[in-house]
Each structure stands twice: as structure tokens, then as C-alpha cells.
């Protein structure tokens, strides 16, 4: 047995009972998770983790880091800082930068910035643009994007309305082992209005978007995925109708996976009352019935993972009348603690939580730690009882746009290791 370089002692693996373990790491990989003495350990860094919970390093497969082009909102260094402190070992950043990540040179620039700012991780995996300039007209050079390091491609934020083009894109991408991530939103049904069509939009005098605007595209994608037998990942699912369609598609063997976000699991359209632009997000916050359906879907695995859809915007951009404000919530700093709230409320088990925050790595072929010998030593240490408040000062993201600002939270990442190296 190789001599361990890192020992994490006395942590309780998430999803297990009260049993604690000692984790041994060598060469950036898991050596063993044992309670017995492995022999020579005097050169190892020892982390006393009594009272802490041990999780695989978390994966967020949907963030917007704004670099290149909108660095006043976020850049790769600040976005990865928020990821690291939020407990994420892997993040996948969307292609709607300026210029869009529709070319390997942009992917390379992103990866260079990540290596320069956080050389030991968190790891950045850029998502390539599905179409040139995200215009939805011509396919981007998907093979070159893949070779440059993109595990997936997407037109996120500007969904492709041309179904023929989308079908061909999914087929072409599947040959390359690229998963297409789709932001499901009908291009005509009040796209991007950022508030649900319902009681609140009606009272506020705002144009709302009905939940069927999402579900219609979810149905299209599920049918295409089944027909083509090619994988599609459905981004930030927000409503019951989508859940029901995905459940049926999965039962029938369609190769679809799906994510939702903490805000869809914890908030409703009521958060927009008072023209609260912090609650303006696309897709919009829905109703308590949708929240219940999403929680259930996460338990049963109909929805595979929680992503953040981390969408930073500068304070002045959100400080406008509701209809002028951009859509989005800054989420990397708070996703773990907000997900823990679901565990505290009994909506998810701890095992559900681990799956929801880590399975993205499996879906997209990123490094996965199952705590078996030889796995990458990506580790998130959680203090489940640590109380804290999500203040602007606590957030590492440049942008503090979240409806959860100044919320009291319980539980926080207190240590992140990527390939055995301590990041925070």
C-alpha cells in the first residue's frame, strides 16, 4: 500500500448512518476508506474531521461565468472562487459569453483563465455553443469544441426554435459523444418575461410566461431523444407538466436527463411580489404545486440533479423596473446550504442530496469519486450544523443578485479537495 499524503479522519460519509471513517489519499486518488491503521502515515497531511460530513466533490453542470465579455458581472476567477467556497469540484460554464463559446479558441481561453486563477481546481468544463454565435442558424464546429475540452454543447439562453436544425444538431453531437443541453422554452410563448403567468403577474400587471412554454419544448426534446436514441439533457426544469413528461419518457427508455435548481425547489412566483427583480429568472419561479412536483421528482430520480444556473448580474442591472431587469440568480455560493434546507425540511434524504449534487459528473463524463480505490480524491467536507447568513460579504461571486440574500442558512462547505489538493 502506498504511503498516504492526505488522511481525513473521523468524517461521516453523507447518506450513511452515524458511522465515521478515515479516508486515505495518495497520488491525488482515493487509497482506501478504512478504520484500521494503514501503517506509515507520518508524512501525511491529517485533517481531523470529527463532526463533519464527507461528500464527493460536488458538480454543477450549469453556470454562467460571463468571461469573456461581461467581466463586470463575473469572471472565471471569481466564479471559480464562488464554486470552491460552495463545495464544487467541477463546474460546467455555459457558452453565452461575448463572444460566444462557439469556437475552440474561446474554449481554450476559458481553460487558460481557469488554470491561471485556480491551477489546482475547481475544474472548469466549458459547454460549447450548439450553433454559431448561438444564432440558431448553423451548427458550430462541434468536433473542434469537443477536442478543446467541451463535454457538452448547448444553445442555453437562446433555445433553437428550428426543430429540423435542433434534430440534426442532436444527431451530429451524439456521434461525437457530446450531450446536448437544452434550455426548454417555446420561442413565442412570452419568452424571457421572468415571471410565471398566474395570480401574481396578473395582479402586478406584468406579462407572464405560462409553464406550458417550457413543457411543450420538453415534450419535443423527449420525443426527439427517443426517436433518435441520442442523449439530451434538460436544463433547469421548473414545472409539474415537464416533470410528468420526463417521467413518461424515462419509463419508455428515452435517453434524457434533467436538472432543476434550488430556487425552483424553495420559492414560488410570490417571491416576485413588490416587483422584486431578484426573483426575476428564466424560466420563472412557479407555484407551490410545481415546487411539490419538483421535490418529488428529485426523490424518485425523474429529475437527476440540482444545478445552480448561476447567473450573475451587477447590482445596477437589477435595480430597474421589473420588465427592464435581466433574468438570473447568482447561486454558486448558496446552492449546498439551500439544498441542505430541503433535507432539513424532509423533502430530500441525505442520499438524495448527494446524488443531486454529484451525479452531473457521471452524466457528462467528468471525474467521479465513489470513494473506491483509485477514484479521484475530490472531496467536499460539510459542517452540517454551521449557522451562517448569506450576506454580500460572504459571497465570493462578483454579483450578489439572489432572492436569498441575507437569509439565515445552516450547513456549509468547510473544506474542498480536488485530486487530493486542498482548495479551501
Amino acid at each position: 500500500m502506498a504511503a498516504p499524503e492526505l488522511i481525513i479522519r473521523g468524517a461521516r460519509p453523507a447518506g450513511s448512518d452515524a458511522r465515521t471513517v478515515d479516508l486515505y489519499v495518495a497520488g491525488g486518488r482515493v487509497l482506501s476508506m478504512e478504520n484500521h491503521d494503514p501503517g506509515r502515515t507520518h508524512d501525511a497531511r491529517v485533517v481531523e474531521a470529527g463532526g463533519l460530513v464527507l461528500l464527493p466533490g460536488l458538480t454543477d453542470c450549469h453556470v454562467h461565468l460571463r468571461e469573456p465579455g461581461q467581466e463586470w458581472k463575473e469572471d472565471i476567477a471569481s466564479g471559480l472562487a464562488a464554486a470552491a467556497h460552495g463545495g464544487f469540484a467541477n463546474v460546467m460554464c455555459m457558452a453565452n459569453t461575448k463572444p460566444a463559446n462557439d469556437d475552440a479558441s474561446v474554449t481554450s481561453l476559458m481553460l487558460d483563465r481557469a488554470r491561471d486563477s485556480w491551477p489546482n481546481g475547481p475544474r472548469l468544463f466549458p459547454v460549447g455553443a450548439l450553433t454559431v454565435k448561438l444564432a440558431g442558424e448553423a451548427l458550430a464546429s462541434l468536433s473542434e469544441l469537443k477536442d478543446a475540452g467541451c463535454p457538452a454543447v448547448s444553445n442555453d439562453g437562446r433555445p433553437v426554435s428550428n426543430t429540423e436544425l435542433f434534430r440534426r444538431a442532436v444527431e451530429y453531437a451524439s456521434d461525437l459523444g457530446l450531450i446536448v443541453i437544452d434550455h426548454c422554452e417555446d420561442p413565442f410563448l412570452a419568452p424571457g418575461t421572468g415571471i410565471n403567468e398566474g395570480l401574481i403577474s396578473s395582479a402586478l400587471g406584468l406579462r407572464g410566461q405560462p409553464s406550458v412554454a417550457e413543457a411543450i419544448q420538453v415534450a419535443r426534446d423527449c420525443l426527439l431523444a427517443a426517436y433518435l436514441q441520442a442523449p439530451i439533457h434538460l436544463a433547469h426544469i421548473s414545472c409539474r407538466q415537464s416533470v410528468e413528461i420526463i417521467a413518461r419518457a424515462k419509463e419508455q427508455g428515452a435517453p434524457v436527463t434533467a436538472e432543476t435548481c434550488p430556487h425552483y425547489l424553495l420559492l414560488t412566483e410570490e417571491a416576485a411580489t413588490g416587483y422584486n427583480t431578484q426573483a426575476k429568472v428564466s424560466p420563472p419561479l412557479r407555484t407551490s404545486d410545481d415546487v411539490a412536483a419538483l421535490r418529488q421528482a428529485l426523490r424518485t430520480g425523474v429529475i437527476d440533479i440540482i444545478s445552480t444556473d448561476h447567473a450573475p448580474h451587477a447590482a445596477h442591472e437589477k435595480e430597474t423596473p421589473f420588465d427592464e431587469a435581466p433574468n438570473g440568480i447568482s447561486g454558486l455560493d448558496s446552492a449546498l446550504a439551500l439544498s441542505l434546507r430541503l433535507v432539513a425540511e424532509g423533502a430530500l434524504s441525505e442520499a438524495d442530496l448527494v446524488r443531486a449534487l454529484t451525479k452531473g459528473a457521471e452524466i457528462f463524463g467528468l471525474p467521479v469519486n465513489r470513494f473506491t480505490s483509485g477514484d479521484p480524491a475530490d472531496i467536499t467536507l460539510l459542517d452540517p450544523n454551521l449557522p451562517w447568513t448569506l450576506t454580500e460579504q460572504e459571497m465570493r461571486s462578483k454579483s450578489k443578485n439572489t432572492p436569498f440574500l441575507n437569509t439565515k442558512l445552516t450547513g456549509r462547505c468547510v473544506g474542498l479537495f480536488v485530486a487530493g489538493k486542498k482548495i479551501v
Partner: protein, 312 residues
Amino acid sequence: MSWLHKDLLCVSQFSADDVETVMRTADSFQEINARPVKKVPTLRGKSVVLFFAEPSTRTKTSFDIAGKRLSADTFSLAKSSSSLVKGESLKDTALTLEAMNPDAIVIRHASSGAADFLARRLKCSIINAGDGWHAHPTQALLDLFTLRRIWGDVAGKTLLILGDIAHSRVARSNVILLGMLGANVRLCAPKTLLPARPESWPVTIEPNLDAAIEGADAVMCLRLQLERQQAGLLPNLREYSNRFCLTAARLAKAKANAPVLHPGPINRGVEIASEVADSPESRILDQVSAGVHVRMALLHLYLTRRDTPAAG
């Protein structure tokens, strides 16, 4: 009597007593508007900014006249002549106006919530003169004033609101105000011009005008914006007018002498027939006159309010 509201954003913030105060105050100003010299010194030294970021003739003029008759100094700012066209944010325009220390800002803006946005940030009184599709409280109050002049009380009366409800701040404010005072409100419009979840409003809905108008005590027509046709919400103006134009024959199904209201500007032959607009039942010009009385009352209440509630 002390007026405790800092801002007027939506009629839903008023109690029935507040509404009564506004109506009585407007009654008392009505007499001034009939004098040969229509000016009193009540608001001398007070300044009111009329910030109209959306086109308006009657509302802006009405506030201007109301302020001047009370001797307030009024200053107009239109979007075309303001820094908004240079890309200044609403926040910065608002802070700039506030720095000149007005006592009130009257705002008209295309964004729902714009008045609320200013009220949260500024110390002076904000009077909402129409924000997007959301609210037009002074219009609802002048409509109420007009109806009370005819009936004395609106409780138990049935008002039919006809036309483009979905995009109408006038409809929203009237539904809230008249509902609060015990009137029955009916809405008549194609579904495409109704708001989302209209069943949550305290109204009855009838898409057939001939049925909807049966027994109504008053009818309020709303202006049809021509862009609704381009948005695919209705086929064309001819068909709209066939189904929803208030004609004399249709008006005959309402109660005898039922008053007809319209917030203006009217589209003759689209939502209201000329024969109705020019009939004795039409109270459209009474509404304009009432607008001056009611806005004088509101400026008076807001500009002479005390900042802190009286003890006890």
C-alpha cells in the same frame, strides 16, 4: 384630519375611509373650479414635478391645472426631453429629480411597478399617473367621483367594463376600487384580452356583450390599442367592432339612462359608436372635469400631510 400616506401607488392601499376623504375633498374643490378666478393659495411654495415618460394629454394637463389652481409650482418633464433618451436609468433620473427637492413627483411610465420603484427610493411623495398595465389610481378615483355625482353611492350598482382588460391599468384599478365599495363589476372581452387567472378577480366575466350588458347600471369602455391586432390577439378591427363596440342598440339593453364612461382617448367606431359617445348618456367630458377636482384633492392631501401620525 391627517393624511398618513406618503405615496399613491395603487387604490388597494386605501381604506374605504381614505376614499371617502378623497371624495369629500374633491367635492370641496369643485366649487373653486367654477369660480371666475380659479385659484387658491393652498399649496403656495410647493413644487410638483410631472414626470411623464409615456405620452399623455389629459392626465398630464389635468395634474398641471390641478396643481396650478392650488398655487403649486408644476414642472413638466417628458421622456423625449429627458435624459432617459440618453440612456439614463430610471433610478438616476429619479435621484436627480429628488435632488431638486420637489414635494411630489407625478409619474407616468410604461413599466408596471415604475411608481413603486420611485417610492421605495425617494423621500418625496410619488403619485402614480399610470404604470404599465398595473395601476392608474387617479383615473379610478375620478371615475368613482363621476359615478357618485350621478348615483350618490356605488354600492350594489353593476358596472360593466368592456374591452381590452388585460392591458388596462384603468380596468385593474376600477375593479379594485369599485369592488372595495360594494359595486358589482362585470368584464366583457375576448379571452385574449383578459388577464391571466381572471377568476381570481372579484368580477363576473361574460364574453357575449349582448348578455353582459343586460341590466348594467353603467358601462365603461376601454380604448383598444391598435397593436393588439398585430400581436394576434384579435383578427381585425371590423370583427372586434362587430362583437364589442358599444352601440345605441346594445346600450338600450342596459338600465335606462345608464351612464357611459371612457378613460379616453376614444376610437370612434371601434370600442364606442359615435352615436353613444355624443349621447346624453356619455359622461366622458364629466370624467375629464372630475379629473381636475380629484387631482386637486390628492395633491392637497399629499402635499399638506403630516409626516408622522398624530399620537393616540
